[in-house]
């Protein structure tokens, strides 16, 4: 659906994108992840045809963005960073204008506009001036603008920035729903957002692609180590000798002592050994009561930091 081949973007001597290549298939929800200034917006602006790459090819829905930009642009719905809108239009006027710009068939226009207003939950504010509506609604208006014309591809640049938690969940739900019949690219520096919504993550830093993978695989890349956290009541203080009794246990470390006299330990085993069963059995034998036991999951957060730092080296 979208393909970037060796795309480079230079501003003078500054290299904003350095030989970026990736491919996004139809129906995928892809997260473009990177710290501020990594090149996320530049990438999106190039895909949408707002700016031109210095070299390389951008193919959108089978059309080369430089040669067949009109056809390519028709397939894209773009929600730019910072939700720029015409403040002196009403919500409905704005959506209508976008529909006209995107050359939506005149006969279907009215129906489509109402459909989008309903889909994005803008019924209550449709006749208000955009200037006078809240940030959350503005975000939705911008999203509505992107949805106009049934584009196959949606490109959303930081769609949840500046929203309160409730609005964020709402927008995310909406995006997830849209992902069912659109190819979506979302940029974000919020990782939890990406792992909740996206099926694929592209990590970018300093204009370079560092990783393209599923959120799960990225997490796995970091986990590598095999850790279990247990909270126990250990009246006879036998925890320190436990290491010898559990096969495959590498280290054991006291993390903290709680007020209720329970202690939390981190146990790290050798690779590919599931410690949980043995721990449970051995501790019971030793008269240690297990209050809580959990396997450590690496978060995408850790993966991200590790990959970015790896990239620096």
């Amino acid at each position: 659906m979208i393909e970037l081949k060796n795309v480079t973007k230079k501003y003078g001597s500054f290299l904003a994108l350095d030989d970026v290549s990736f491919k996004i298939e139809e129906g995928e929800i892809v997260g473009l992840l990177g710290p501020n200034g990594a090149g996320k917006s530049t990438t999106m602006n190039i895909i949408t045809g707002y700016i031109e790459q210095t070299s390389g090819d951008v193919i959108v829905a089978g059309y080369d963005m430089l040669k067949k930009s009109k056809k390519a642009k028709k397939e894209i719905g773009y929600m730019p960073e910072g939700v720029p809108l015409y403040l002196d239009l009403t919500v409905k006027e704005f959506i209508k204008y976008m529909a006209e710009l995107k050359q939506v068939n005149k006969r279907e226009r009215k129906e489509k506009i109402n459909e989008i207003i309903e889909k994005t939950g803008l019924e209550n504010v449709q006749n208000k001036l955009i200037r006078n509506i809240s940030r959350g609604y503005k975000q939705r208006v911008s999203l509505a603008g992107a949805l106009v014309g049934d584009p196959k591809i949606l490109i959303l640049d930081e769609p949840t920035v500046g929203l309160d938690p409730k609005q964020i969940t709402e927008i995310r739900k909406l995006i997830k729903k849209l992902g069912k019949n659109h190819t979506v690219i979302i940029s974000s520096h919020i990782l939890s957002e990406i792992s909740q919504v996206c099926s694929k993550v592209i990590i970018i830093n300093k204009g370079k692609i560092l990783a393209v993978d599923t959120p799960k695989n990225l997490e796995n890349r970091v986990v590598g180590n095999n850790r279990v956290y247990v909270t126990v009541e250990d009246k006879k203080d036998r925890m320190k000798d436990i290491k010898k009794k559990i096969k495959g246990l590498k280290t054991i470390e006291l993390i903290k002592e709680n007020e209720d006299k329970t202690k939390e330990y981190m146990l790290e085993g050798e690779k590919d050994v599931d410690l949980r069963k043995t721990i449970f059995e051995v501790l019971a034998k030793e008269d240690i009561t297990v209050f809580e036991m959990k396997k450590a999951d690496a978060t995408l957060e850790e993966a991200f930091i590790k990959i970015i730092e790896g990239g620096k080296k």
Binding site: S69, K70, P84, Y86, L101
Partner: protein, 226 residues
């Protein structure tokens, strides 16, 4: 393209710009109507336009300064430039919308012609030629204003560039007569004398086309440096 023309035209009246432009023009024009025509008991409608043309110098920048600059600053140009509409059409649409305002203003001046008809018999042919010249001059001015607006994201700067350029064009012939053929306002003054000079008409039209072309080229180029 129709959508952009409609939206741009409407936005002139959503902000004070449209009203300020037409209002200021008519106030100034009325003053010249009195000082240049009524006071002499003359029925020469076209006389107002000698001074009337100078009004454009000051109010066209007001009309055109935000055309591209404002959208660039607020970022809404991203919506426009990522839509399947070509830059040429966008520039033309914005130009046409501004010219429509100019046309409305010019139509308003017809009422002065009406007043003169009440007192005597103004020369209709000369009046029409003058209006044509005035329209061509207005188009040339608007096209330059739009160009100035496309090169900066600060509308004040766009306005000042436009105003500065018009004033320069106005006074250049005073420094050297070589410039009198380049001074748009100088070129215009032949129209109120009732003659359509082909060379002058072509100069005004080609200036307009050139400004619009420069705007289009500039917008295209900005894609790769933005």
């Amino acid at each position: 393209m129709g959508a952009i023309i409609k939206k741009e035209f409407k936005s002139y009246f959503l902000s004070p710009v449209g009203y300020v432009f037409i209002g200021l023009f008519l106030i100034m024009f009325s003053i010249f109507f009195y000082t240049d025509v009524i006071r002499y008991g003359s029925t020469n409608f076209e006389y107002i336009f000698f001074s009337g043309a100078t009004i454009l110098t000051f109010i066209v920048p007001v009309l055109t300064m935000r055309t591209f600059a404002e959208e660039r600053k607020t970022g809404v140009e991203q919506l426009l430039l990522t839509s399947p509409t070509s830059i040429t059409k966008i520039v033309l649409a914005k130009f046409i919308a501004a010219v429509l305002i100019l046309l409305i203003t010019e139509l308003c001046t017809m009422m002065y012609f009406g007043i003169l008809c009440f007192f005597g018999m103004p020369h209709i042919q000369t009046a029409l030629v003058t209006l044509l010249g005035f329209f061509l001059l207005g188009m040339a001015y608007v096209s330059f204003g739009i160009f100035a607006s496309s090169i900066t994201e600060n509308q004040i700067i766009a306005g000042v560039i436009t105003l500065g350029f018009f004033i320069l064009m106005w006074f250049l012939p005073d420094f050297n007569t070589i410039f009198s053929d380049f001074s748009l306002i100088n070129i215009f003054t032949k129209f109120p004398q009732g003659q359509i000079d082909i060379a002058d008409t072509i100069t005004l039209i080609s200036f307009t086309v050139m400004s619009l072309l420069l705007t289009i080229i500039f917008m295209q180029r900005r894609k790769s440096v933005r």
